[in-house]
């Protein structure tokens, strides 16, 4: 046995495992324990300091049957994800397509559009709160110049979520970079061949660029979907008092969960919430992975 040589395939898979080792080690050392603990805790009335009694599925039952705020928060989150993911994806593709042109000063434009992605966190939220100020903010001022009477943005429950989506659109620079890199990698010969065949720029874009960047689109959709469900800070900061107002329109799932855990010390309940969210995101990601082969094109893939 000792002298038996490894096949290339085996060797490759072992190297693969070595490469993902840091994650596996980190996962088992730091994440797996808390994960299982929160699963167990979700069946208790755990309050962090003094109480942890088994209550069966009571937490889940209350959440699904009785808790109006749970439904509100889930609805708010789904609304946000349903609009922000497609819009930011389209926005990023659109901008990177523009920035993929050969015009003078393109580097300056690329830098400008990427800049918002460099800024992050609370500073940006405060900045946007000023921009979206109904009476004095820049956004409504600009809209006023073209004769539009701007909405009340963060003060009107119908406009709060669109406000956040607008803010997200402004910072698509991060994913734009991925698209741009992948567009630059598309072989010039494909375009040349298409041009000889008389394909218009638009058809080239639809039939060459888009298919060639589908792996990046797929990656972007999956990660921003997961990220979208985790929205928290924006609501915590931008709803003024951190309660998700006005009229609960910014009460996102994680904000409500945080309130239950750290304001009301109902940690068991919050853990149950986190598992429901986990299941939702997990199922959506599985669907994504299942659908992927139908539209994602990998170059050099073995069919």
């Amino acid at each position: 046995m000792g002298k038996k040589r490894l096949t290339i395939r085996r060797k490759e898979s072992i190297y693969g495992y070595i490469f993902i080792m840091p994650f596996i080690v980190g996962f088992f050392a730091f994440t797996a324990g808390p994960l299982l603990f929160s699963l167990a805790g979700s069946f208790t009335d755990y309050n962090i300091t003094s109480r942890m009694d088994f209550v069966g599925v009571e937490n889940y039952q209350t959440l699904i049957v009785d808790d109006g705020l749970f439904r509100t928060s889930l609805w708010n989150t789904i609304y946000y994800v349903a609009f922000s993911v497609p819009l930011t994806t389209l926005g990023a593709i659109f901008i990177s397509a523009l920035l993929n042109q050969d015009v003078p000063g393109i580097r300056v434009f690329r830098t400008l559009y990427y800049l918002p992605a460099v800024l992050s966190g609370v500073g940006v939220y405060l900045l946007w709160m000023q921009l979206l100020e109904p009476g004095t903010g820049m956004v409504n001022l600009l809209l006023g110049w073209v004769g539009i009477d701007g909405p009340n943005w963060l003060y009107d429950p119908d406009w709060t979520k669109p406000s956040l989506i607008l803010m997200k659109l402004w910072s698509v620079g991060g994913s734009m970079l991925l698209y741009l890199a992948s567009m630059q990698g598309v072989s010039k010969s494909l375009y040349e061949a298409a041009e000889i065949d008389g394909a218009s720029r638009w058809r080239q874009f639809v039939h060459i660029t888009i298919p060639m960047i589908t792996p990046v689109i797929f990656f972007d959709v999956v990660t921003s979907l997961i990220g979208g469900f985790q929205i928290f800070q924006e609501a915590y900061i931008m709803s003024g008092n951190g309660e998700g107002g006005p009229a609960n329109s910014l009460l996102f799932y994680n904000l409500y969960m945080w309130n239950q855990a750290f304001e009301n010390f109902d940690m068991g309940y919050a853990m149950a919430m986190s598992w429901i969210l986990f299941v939702i995101v997990f199922v959506l990601t599985l669907i994504n992975l299942k659908l992927a082969p139908r539209w994602v094109h990998y170059e050099g893939e073995e069919k």
Binding site: L6, M21, A29, I48, T49, S50, E243, L251, N259, F262
Partner: protein
Amino acid sequence: MKKLRMPLLVLTSTTLMLSACAGFQTNNSSEEETNEEGKTVVDFWSFWGSELRRPVIDKIVADFNASQDEIEVKHTYSPWGDIWTKELAAIAAGNPPDVVINDINATAIRGKENQAMNLSEFMDDSFSEKFYPELWNATLYEGDSYGIPFNTDTRVLFYNTDAFEEAGLDPEDPPSTWAELEEYAAKLDVKNGDDYDRLGFYPLWGVGYDVWLLNANGENYFGEDNNVDNVNINTETNAEVLNWLKSWRDRIGEDVVNSYQAQIDSQQGNPFFSGDLAMLVQQPTFYTQISEYAEDLNFGVAPLPEYEPGNGHTSWGGGFVAEIPEGSSDPEAAWAFIEYLTGAEAQEYWAVQNFDNVANIEAAEAAAENDELSEEGQMVYQMAVESMENTLLTPAPVEAPGFYNYINPHVDEFFLGSMTAEEALAQAQADVEDLIQKNQ
């Protein structure tokens, strides 16, 4: 195969061992912590890290350390957003700090959940008399105190005396009822087309609708003893108050309200400083902003007007307590520090240096006469001390944690016009009753 397996195994086990070392490097909480000089170390956490507050609290800590040679207090600053979740994690891990500054309104809940220690054993019966009774009562759970009040606040009416004179009003006679408030505001208004050159007053700047409800009722939603057996949200008075508040918005106009609000939010652009707003409800500490941004402003300060004559100038406040987390390594030493921290000397120093309301009555009254304050400062502080007599807190009953999360959204709907006051209050009442039932 073997060749590869060994290094992998070594790698994995080393990583796990290293992570385990970090994970279990906690102190045994029952052991007293002492420093090299043999003094007991008291770990003290606060969120006072600003340029203004940090030196003051550090000086108090240094004074305490110098005043005796048994205990050494170590002050750690932790930002506002982190401190209490960090504390909670530390309590759960069995290695908490010894003294933490925490929100007074949740003290009873923290006592119930065994996060904070029962402090009754450390004090005699007269200890509670040092503090405002309303503050003291907020720290009690089943009759025992779980945190000692440190600082507090209240809401008072600031008014521009020059504007009063211009409008023919007596600056010595500020409005004392809601009716007078409306009358004065109308006289102080200076209209310019749809806009205002000067606005008299708007009730929802500086405070929320709930302060006006509290003022009208003279008690919070759960009655004087904060008992959840009767929930008084859906009442005629409350509906009337909400409609009254909304009438201001309707009269002044949405746009004016929003644009003034934006200026108020920007702090130094506050229209009260420029004289564009004649009256404003604020905390007494607002005086520090006036003296910084509008030194020359002539202003007066009055108690919150009362709903009807004789109804009482009820105001609203909050505050912070010093508590000993459950599992502290040396509660005796921690208590010694808390006693100093909430004692008259430290409290007066804090009050004067920070221009902040303190919980210790003797210290608050002394601060109002302290020569380090300017004449105006003394006037505002004196009003703050007087207002404390009528100031109520609204701690969440243990059966209704976060109850305002169930009221605010409906009241928002009312102000946005999608519900009547009665509908909003009826729904809020039903939601809060549900919450109480869930927690009983």
